[in-house]
Symmetry: C2
């Protein structure tokens, strides 16, 4: 049974450039922890709440490319909290973890790499169902 101890922070190259030229982050396919089957981005303002579900099989890599996003994780026994921003590590979230993302400032963006294509059956959207699923595994 996956626990929050299996969540990892992964460092990808970050190049911070002088003046207004910005922050460049690079994700070479060969450096990714899995074969990427799906990518999605979420753009939200302060107070936006996303996630609030778990995946049965899908592992995800979360990268904050603008603003700041708090990620709350729960394995039905313990919780963990991570803060992501454009200079922070990426968060490798294994399958079997309940996760909620809170967008902390306006114009925050998360890019998420997934090792599975979209499958609604992979989602658990009810925390009680998730908790029972974890107990029975």
């Amino acid at each position: 049974m996956t626990t929050i101890d299996e969540i990892q922070l992964i460092r990808f190259p970050i190049f911070t450039e002088p003046s207004a030229q910005g922050i460049l982050r690079v994700f070479e396919a060969l450096s990714m922890p899995f074969g990427v089957q799906r990518i999605f981005s979420v753009h939200a303002n302060a107070g936006g709440l996303r996630g609030q579900h778990a995946h049965r099989k899908c592992t995800q890599l979360l990268v904050c490319v603008s603003g700041q996003v708090s990620v709350f994780c729960d394995d039905a026994e313990h919780t963990a909290h991570f803060t992501l921003h454009p200079q922070s590590d990426a968060l490798l979230l294994p399958a079997g973890i309940w996760s909620t993302q809170c967008y902390e400032i306006d114009s925050s963006s998360l890019v998420v790499f997934c090792d599975y294509p979209y499958d609604e059956a992979d989602y658990i959207r009810d925390f009680e169902v998730f908790s029972k699923w974890k107990t029975n595994k």
Copy 2:
């Protein structure tokens, strides 16, 4: 010789959600116009200028996930201009086009998918060299 007429706008699914829940954009691997070898993100504030180079072989797909970014394209004969934002289409930029990206508002982010891994030899960073390369092709 690639011309600006070969630049394409590509629509990926965009789900706009009520209240502060934000904008979700989805890029399934099978929907991508090429096999993705590299992804990079750039985060910059208003006035940030990036690009100002061409690629000999690398095709790129540009997606603005926050803020607004102007993309100026030049094939050494004609120019074209595109404005990208989180609700706009993605821009498929073939190899052989000189491109400059101007970050128009603070906290703008571009995610770029590439069909080649990083190779410095693939970059042309001098417009005169680019122009001669285009003429001789």
